[in-house]
């Protein structure tokens, strides 16, 4: 055999290569998601400027923000736990993250029930509000589904200190969902 090409199987055996490639792929995906959220945020400012209705439920929105921030902390602790092979802590913190995500979604449902009467989707602010909240809630739901899969696999003995990319990727996505809310929250409620 005269070829100098590295056989394909060697790439897969080189474990130091794979996590870096995964991370770069994940970041590129998150950058593309940023553009999606950016377009919706721009639509809000284009259609209504910084005007917002007085009836917005500020207390609930602040509470939801704190819940989502806390869920990011527990997600971070879940990732750190599995990196150090602390499976029990990983299961606890992932479950806490899922619980807080569900709590956030419950709050969003209450918000939407109020919003549909106060500023319906047909109004300029209402359309921006429902688009942004809906887009973000969809990301929360998909993040919760991913966290559920990771928890299930973790309970079955998957992941460990040398193989935690599955957890890292999902937790990064969850942090991104939190990051998106940090911009959506002032855009809809504070500006």
């Amino acid at each position: 055999m005269t070829t100098t090409e590295t056989p394909r199987t060697e790439y897969h055996q080189d474990m130091s290569f794979q996590p870096r490639a995964n991370r770069i792929g994940m970041w590129l995906f998150l950058v593309s998601e940023t553009f999606l959220f950016g377009a919706f945020l721009a639509a809000r400012y284009y259609s209504t400027g910084t005007l917002r209705p007085e009836e917005l439920n500020q207390a609930l929105a602040l509470l939801l923000t704190i819940v989502l921030l806390l869920s990011s902390v527990s997600a971070y602790l879940a990732e750190t736990s599995i990196r150090f092979n602390h499976r029990r802590n990983f299961v606890i913190f992932t479950t806490v993250t899922i619980a807080m995500g569900l709590l956030f979604l419950g709050g969003v449902v209450i918000e939407l029930k109020e919003a549909i009467h106060l500023y319906p989707p047909g109004t300029p602010y209402g359309s921006s509000y429902f688009m942004l909240i809906g887009l973000h809630a969809f990301h929360v739901v998909s993040g919760l589904a991913a966290l559920g899969i990771v928890l299930f696999l973790g309970l079955k003995g998957h992941f460990g200190s040398k193989d935690y990319w599955g957890v890292e990727g999902v937790v990064k996505y969850w942090h991104f969902v939190d990051l998106a809310w940090l911009v959506i929250y002032p855009t809809l409620y504070l500006f």
Partner: protein
């Protein structure tokens, strides 16, 4: 945990500033930027992307 505490404090200050000012857009932008950077740096380890190897 310091990052988390900082985020909580910034969120409360952000809220107080928003309800105190008539047009809080410019005053709130630094809060959004700072909170975003804390999540990117502390929780998401964004600097890791620019490093050569894996940890």
């Amino acid at each position: 945990l310091i990052g988390a505490a900082l985020l909580a404090v910034l969120t409360i200050i952000e809220y107080v500033v928003a309800i105190s000012l008539e047009d809080p857009l410019l005053a709130l932008l630094p809060f959004v930027a700072l909170k975003g950077w804390i999540i990117l740096d502390v929780f998401m380890h964004v600097k890791q992307v620019f490093k050569e190897g894996d940890h």
